[in-house]
Symmetry: C3
Subunit: 142 residues, 3 copies
């Protein structure tokens, strides 16, 4: 069981920038505020998005492109360190004008309007390292 | 980048009231406990619900009515101040008896049973003001 | 209105164990760390899963079996005490290779890879007791 204990640090409520990419936006906030470990949730709406599904056999991502406006019905993510820099990992459930959903790993989401609650976690190191079994970069602790 | 920093205040675990509306219920809890900024998550089940999709071109909401029982597969929301009062903004993913989903902005959800974790945030003001670009009431800080 | 106030305790970021069951895994972590009240979120991927829908008329669960790999697009859950032991209640939104979703009460989810943020809550007792109106074990406070 790989896990690390933290104290909760600062909490940020953020109005994400219209026309920016949600993943990139959270990454830049982490860099600016020197946050290395955190979790976040977001709600709002996207102009368009790219989701991904990870093929557990072939160890490769399969892209799902959504070219129409979507509600961010849910977005849950975390920040940890990968190759020395803050790395954002987020999953999202998106909904179209009829309430129908597509969901998965959030690769890119161009913001119409979005509200993010970012919670900094302090006290331990958490770094992503290559994991042979899954082919993913997963958490290791020291 | 519009954002505010907070310390986490009180945390509330709440069993929401059977037959009440989830959005109204959280609003009343905020008023009763004098909470002006918070985020929350909820899981449970609804008897029926109304979701909304925001038309990014026309700047108007489109309603999606669900008249059958639904699991609250996810509900993520926040509380901030709008026109001097606590205002609840929530998005939800709902699932029917076959696990099929509808999702969007939660306008109304009549509770069968629901469990809410509300996290108070202290230290900054956060108020919704009309935003011309999106037509929405978005966060401004002082 | 049944609710309890808490202070936030320890926070855990956990890499859940490949091939274990997510619900069982969180239960074991709670037992190991002596956590009786908490909430959590998780993202990642499952090899297969069982979801449930609660029939609000008949007061019985209806099972939805997913035998293919799924992204955990969202998982929101809590821990409280039931019959003297930590009890995990979780809902999930799962997405297949095309981004199509199934969602509901998470009965079982065999982990490919999953990242859990568990937040301990301290200061009050929260116990599940049988509720006649819904047929469910819901929160009671002292």
């Amino acid at each position: 069981m790989v896990y690390a204990k933290f104290e909760l640090g600062r909490s940020f409520l953020v109005r994400a920038e219209h026309d920016s990419d949600l993943v990139q936006f959270v990454t830049e906030l982490a860099e600016k505020e020197e946050i290395t470990v955190a979790t976040f949730t977001a709600i709002g709406a996207l102009k368009r998005a790219k989701l991904e599904f990870y093929d557990q056999e072939k160890h490769e991502y399969h892209e799902i492109t959504l070219d129409s406006p979507q509600e961010i019905a849910s977005c849950v993510g975390n920040i940890s360190v990968k190759e020395g820099k803050p790395f954002v990992h987020a999953h999202a459930v998106l909904a179209d004008k009829n309430g129908n959903t597509k969901a998965g790993h959030l690769l890119e989401g161009i913001i119409f309007a979005a509200e993010v609650h970012l919670r900094e976690l302090k006290g331990a190191k958490l770094e992503r390292k290559y994991d042979k079994v899954t082919g993913l970069a997963l958490w290791e602790t020291e």
